[in-house]
Assembly symmetry: C2
Amino acid sequence: MLKRLGAQTVRLENAPHIRAYACVGGKKEGDGPLRAGFDRISDDSYFGEQTWEQAESRMIRDCFALACGKAGLAPAGLDYVLAGDLLNQCVSSAFALKDSAAPYLGLYGACSTMAEALSLGAMLIDGGFAETVCAATGSHFCSAERQYRFPLEYGGQRPPTAQWTVTGAGAVILDASGRGLRVTHVTTGRIVDAGITDANSMGSAMAPAAYDTLRAHFADTGRSPADYDAIFTGDLGALGHDLLEELFRAEGTVLGDRYMDCGVLIYDAKRQDANAGGSGCGCCAAVLCSHILPAMQSGVWRRVLFSATGALLSATSAQQGSSIPGICHALVIEKEA
Amino acid sequence: MLKRLGAQTVRLENAPHIRAYACVGGKKEGDGPLRAGFDRISDDSYFGEQTWEQAESRMIRDCFALACGKAGLAPAGLDYVLAGDLLNQCVSSAFALKDSAAPYLGLYGACSTMAEALSLGAMLIDGGFAETVCAATGSHFCSAERQYRFPLEYGGQRPPTAQWTVTGAGAVILDASGRGLRVTHVTTGRIVDAGITDANSMGSAMAPAAYDTLRAHFADTGRSPADYDAIFTGDLGALGHDLLEELFRAEGTVLGDRYMDCGVLIYDAKRQDANAGGSGCGCCAAVLCSHILPAMQSGVWRRVLFSATGALLSATSAQQGSSIPGICHALVIEKEA
């Protein structure tokens, strides 16, 4: 029987449970408003490694190990690990998880990776292909800066629309059985290209994709924003947050205070000089695991729509003058009564 | 009910059908032994575009359109498109498919992408989440050379163990119903790091991963190589092909003549100066769609084990002296009686 609701959404009849989760962050993230929710904060931007790429990998590896530990699972006991990151050829997640001995599915969803990994992982469990899976991702400010923009030593100026790549990682373990929080719906995004070419304005590039996916979610499920206690986007930042509100307002839909963006939540933007807010695969992964899931467990929200956006550009595509297509994947997390 | 057989394999009870497939190649591929199986060959290495990255994207887009055309499906009618490639941030597949209007799941499996996409696509259909999905990937010699190795103008010498990145793309459309060829089992690989650091010897880096996955497949299913009419690896090349045979021989298993490698099949290595053979995401994708599936349809083989290997390195990880972890995903394709 097809579990599909409309064009982009599936309902998970045996909604997988969130068995455990963990997050690790850097110094700036530990200095931000969500400090208390991190399992580990490192003041060393190298995380004890030799390069920033290795640091990013180490952070994901540590986070994965923490999540497995909380779940009381040996890594090799996982049926699948789904992971990806922003580095060329996704090396930070590959090196982080190469010794896990679990079947590995590498993803590339840019900053939407956590939502993509959770979506696929939840479907693999709901479909009977797995009992436990792990979704993991991370990003590092220093490795992202030098790959996408300039060497850090160059000290390039950042426009107000620019976002700050989060140094952080998150890992979530889904389980076929258990109690507590469950993933009940998955809405998979289409690529949306609004023609934006400014690589310093990711919020503008990704907001149309978030609009497309959330709109599809509401249409497919017959729900409206008011059916959710909270709605999150991954890393649109302050600018993208406002753009998304405006896109919905133009069609008469009010997202309201329930709508928040992970990129806005993770830093105290003014005090921490983060311009439009956080970004990167680690942004929504860390906010999910340090803030959203703990708050749901403690009863602050019962039904949450969690979405993560990605900008599908590379330094090469940007240099060749191509536009920046965006994508957004969403899922519903509910607390059992 | 859990559909799992052993640690890494699932059996697809409602085995999805292969509804259509297509492949596109470059001049060298059109000059090779599989010429007749390509739907389109371009003598222009730019495929009418301005850059090699755009050419790679164009090739995947054309191939995707050809497959949709053969299936009689509008792209927007697909429930999911699963795709990835070798370029930084997988831009060739993202740009190729950005206007498809179908839910998009970006993958990074390096040269194992076609097997990873087919595996996930088949599970999404078998699990009731989709009726039709497309798995697509491709690679381009010129974009890969300048990204991973040297500018083409440099004219770097290639050692005999080096492989030649295939300029080619493949796309396969899976369907919940239909007749003909079906995907019956999926074996998802673990990352295997044998400590190889020579980026000019991918066959050595990936053969241990192929061994690990195929061994798991035989253990999980209780089958042996003799249960298959043909066994393919993706792009181990001549060296990796022999290494894999040797690894199996050491444990007393003979793969025999039924074992072939896509990297060996795609070029006439001596005449075409391809050293150890073909590689790249496009290698096994093009061989699958130009050679394996047509031969199965015409009755040459009834039951095939198709596996694709990927080397999880980047230019940065190689420059930092890291080893080259490998991965291999496998699936069983059977012709209905």
